[in-house]
């Protein structure tokens, strides 16, 4: 799987060839450095480890510094491994947008969704809430309803969907189309929404 690490810039809309207004997300993907190449002999599988964003010297641990020194690259903030990377690259090479993407490609976008805090079941799991506002109901409009039977099993099953922390987790959105590639600016326009807030890290994979 080919891919790149980038940064979400924000959303906008552009006009398609037929004049349709297409909502899209701008992702900035500066050239990613290859930090490690794994293959069948060395690790038992094929993959390429890409690095994104220069790291400050004080934020690099000694073991990681060794890893970067071995590759002969400057320390980076984020490392992401892509399995079965189809583009032939060696350690220290740059992977650019042009290498990976072209217009019309169907890609997946991975990011950390916006944190929503502690939310009830209606927002978090799409429950409908219990009953009406009238007909004897009171304080039940956004309630979860029953969470299980009584004496048997006399416990609540694991994984029961309840209120709790919503958002702020890794989300993958599949089958997004690449509307435009602006390679000299290192920008990709992806149709639709990409998880995360502006400035957050996004992985685009093909």
């Amino acid at each position: 799987m080919n891919g790149l690490i980038g940064k979400k810039i924000g959303m906008t809309s552009v006009f398609g060839e037929d004049g349709s207004n297409v909502a899209c997300t701008i992702v900035e993907a500066l050239p990613n450095k290859v930090v490690q190449v794994k293959d069948q002999d060395s690790d038992g599988y094929n993959s390429v480890q890409l690095g994104y964003g220069a790291a400050k010297d004080k934020n690099v641990t000694k073991p990681m510094r060794g890893h970067f020194d071995k590759a002969g690259v400057d320390p980076v903030k984020t490392l992401v491994e892509f399995r079965d990377f189809e583009i032939e690259k060696r350690v220290g090479d740059n992977v650019t947008i042009e290498d990976v993407f072209e217009e019309g490609d169907i890609v997946n976008a991975i990011g950390t969704s916006k944190g929503k805090g502690f939310q009830g079941v209606v927002k978090r799991h799409g429950f409908k809430g219990v009953g009406d506002a009238t007909h004897g109901q009171h304080n039940r409009q956004r309630a979860p309803g029953s969470i299980g039977a009584g004496s048997t099993p006399s416990r609540v099953y694991k994984g029961m969907r309840m209120a709790g922390q919503d958002g702020g987790r890794r989300v993958k959105v599949r089958n997004l189309r690449i509307v435009k590639v602006l390679s000299e600016k290192n920008l990709i326009l992806v149709q639709g929404a990409v998880p995360g807030h502006k400035g957050s890290l996004v992985i685009i994979e093909k």
């Binding site: 552009v14 006009f15 004049g19 701008i26 600016k185």
Partner: protein
């Protein structure tokens, strides 16, 4: 924000139309594709809102059609908009004219702003 603007500068072509404001009576020529044929439809009404800026700017036109209020939102820079013609300049005291939705008949009429040269 600057990056988004730079993307627009590169991709979107800004349409050049005569300057119009909320309250103006305009006629929007919009090209419609039906299969292979292409024809131009005109939408005539009052501008009740201009929203956004730059490449994603839009404006709303309201007209009364067969006694029913019809509103249409046009992206200002849509390649389908062929022309915007200003028919009348309106005299209004606000930029969003949503109060017109609640008015009918003569009350819903916008006074004309006379321009003396």
């Amino acid at each position: 924000m600057d990056i988004i603007k730079s993307v627009h500068d590169e991709i979107t072509t800004i349409n050049q139309f005569p300057d119009f404001k909320s309250g103006d009576n305009v006629s929007v020529s919009y090209s419609i594709k039906e299969g292979a044929k292409e024809r131009i439809q005109k939408f005539k009404g009052d501008v009740i809102q201009i929203k956004g800026h730059g490449a994603t700017k839009t404006f709303t036109v309201r007209k009364i059609s067969n006694g029913v209020g019809v509103e249409r939102i046009f992206p200002l820079n849509s390649p389908n908009i062929v022309d915007v013609e200003v028919l009348k300049r309106g005299k209004v005291r606000r930029s969003r004219l949503f109060y017109l939705r609640d008015l009918v008949g003569k009350k819903a009429k916008i006074k004309e702003r006379k321009i003396f040269k």
